[in-house]
């Protein structure tokens, strides 16, 4: 029983971790909280639904459709709103408001396109459950964990082994010096937007078979992603992953042993406590 609860916690934790990771990525490169991150996840899930259920595309194509569309959306947001605002050196709060405006737009547009009601997508595997050592495991849980692990390893390799990835890191770390070294900072910012949107979209495609997908799903998952990033430490993507797993497991344990009503409260309360006691997060470095 415990193992099963733990596994379902880790599964949701992976989703929060992916959203939190995307969140930390944009924050690192632009110092802006992307309040539309959850909407990226929702749009990713919706595009995957459109690909597999409506267009009946093969799985891989549908995945490409989803990630591709979201990358375009991210580039659009960056070019239309964030870049002009940065050029005008607008207040950070104005950019946060711009993201809030985008999230309202996306939510409403997807309600127009896909309707308000929850939709279903099929899992990655035909068999729904299987047993390991007497524990019933949802096969989609496994898919979520494997996908998360693979995508995070790829991202890690990208950021630490390739020149391009290091340039993204460099311009996030010190914009001016990176610029002086010949890094095109704007391209790097766009890249981090794209990667952030793509990871969230991927999280959306893998969460679809576990949870129902609907235009309002983005809000809650997005906020838990923020919680993951904040708990782990905004400056550190690794922290966001750990934070996500921690929140997922705690939530699932609380939900099964105490009450589901309070498991949702937990994420927010936990985030508030971390913000009060250690605003830089568990793994974060204090920023001044």
């Amino acid at each position: 029983m415990f193992a099963q609860i733990f596994i379902s916690g880790i599964t949701m934790g992976c989703i929060y971790a992916m959203v939190g990771f995307g969140f930390a990525l944009v924050f690192n490169s632009t110092q802006i909280f992307n309040f539309a991150q959850g909407e990226f996840l929702m749009l990713g899930a919706m595009m995957h639904y459109t690909g597999t259920v409506i267009f009946k595309l093969p799985f891989a194509l549908s995945l490409i459709l989803s990630l591709g569309t979201l990358s375009l959306v991210a580039i659009f947001i960056e070019l239309v709103a964030i870049s002009p605002l940065r050029k005008k050196s607008a207040n950070v709060i104005m950019m946060v408001l711009a993201f809030i405006a985008f999230s309202m737009l996306f939510k409403n547009v997807s309600e127009m396109i896909w309707g308000k009601y929850p939709l279903m997508v099929k899992g990655f595997f035909i068999q729904e459950h299987f047993q390991i050592a007497g524990i019933m495991v949802q096969s989609q849980s496994l898919a979520v964990m494997i996908t998360t692990a693979i995508s995070l390893v790829i991202l890690w390799l990208f950021f630490s082994k390739t020149m391009f990835g290091m340039a993204v890191m460099a311009s996030a770390y010190n914009t001016k010096r990176a610029y002086l070294c010949g890094v095109s900072v704007h391209i790097m910012i766009i890249t981090s937007f794209v990667l952030s949107a793509a990871t969230s979209a991927l999280a959306g495609t893998i969460v679809g078979p576990i949870a129902f997908i609907s235009p309002s799903m983005g809000f809650e998952l997005g906020i838990k992603g923020f919680a993951a990033a904040v708990v782990g430490g905004m400056g550190s993507p690794v922290g966001a992953i750990l934070g996500g797993l921690l929140i997922g497991v705690l939530e699932s344990l609380l939900g099964s042993y105490v009450s589901t009503a309070y498991s949702t409260l937990m994420a927010f309360t936990f985030m508030l406590i971390v913000l009060y006691i250690r605003p830089e997060g568990i793994l974060g470095v204090a920023s001044r």
């Binding site: 607008a90 737009l105 409403n108 127009m112 985030m271 605003p279």
Partner: protein
Amino acid sequence: MQRLTQYGFWGALLIFLFLWPVFSQNPYYFHTGIMVGIMVMMALGLNLLFGYTGQISLAHASFYAIGAYTSTLLEVNTGISFWISTPLGIVLAALVAIIVGLPTLRLRDHYLALATLSFCMVTQLFLVNAKGFTGGSEGVMGIKSPTLFGMALKGISYYYFVLILTLLIFVIIRNIVNSRVGLALETIRENEEAAGSLGVNTLRYKVMVFALAAAFAALAGSLYAHLALFISPETFGVMMSIEVLVVVVIGGLARNDGAVIGAIVMTLLPELLYGFEEHRLLVYGIIMLLLIMFAPKGIVGVISSLRNLVRSKLDSRLPLKEEGNE
């Protein structure tokens, strides 16, 4: 001359607000008018906090909820009157704001936005889950209109009641803004360290403003509850907080007249876009985005730069410099 036209506009607006019920008896207009008043109260408070002091808050709906729930639960369960329960709600909201504000307002910008956002989520989840106490998602029913000297305040009388309270709050906030306190608040917004080194107790001021804004929101909440005569947790979600924020930004940050104009526009807009009710969020989002991108000073900012433009065109004695245009 400029002051004269400005006062002329506000005077005309006031006369209109006081007199139109004489000519029209449509209860729908009263309802809309009262909703505008409620929104103005919330927006003025948030504007003092966000516009003047620079502290973003997404927890405004929580205090709105505290005002609405405290007053109505006290009335429904213990039978005390509106005139006692509403002040109790206001005091409770201010106390909660002080307790929450003391740790929260140490945070800045994004972190403040996130912390207040999670506070808002926590209160709404509490309202839904504490069924025995708040009625859960079914909400509170059986709320009665307040009575004054044996006369029930509803329709036209409630309209005047809300109008007078709104004016009162407008005057209070205007006086705060024009006082030394207002100066301190704007210094905090511009540079908190500098304000601190000039002897402004920044945390105390921020918490004070937070509590004041919460108190006004609680009053608005109670007024809303006694207008709708039914409340449920749905009304008091993060969306409500964002809506107030949108009103403040659209009207024009750090302008009290902006908060009023923003509230009027944002309350009337969905009514005018009748049939577009479904796409309210879309319209809000687009308007907000356009204003952020092209007119960060809001509607009031657009109006005053248009006025300056017209004046510089009319004033042919001066060389045509784009001075008034910023």
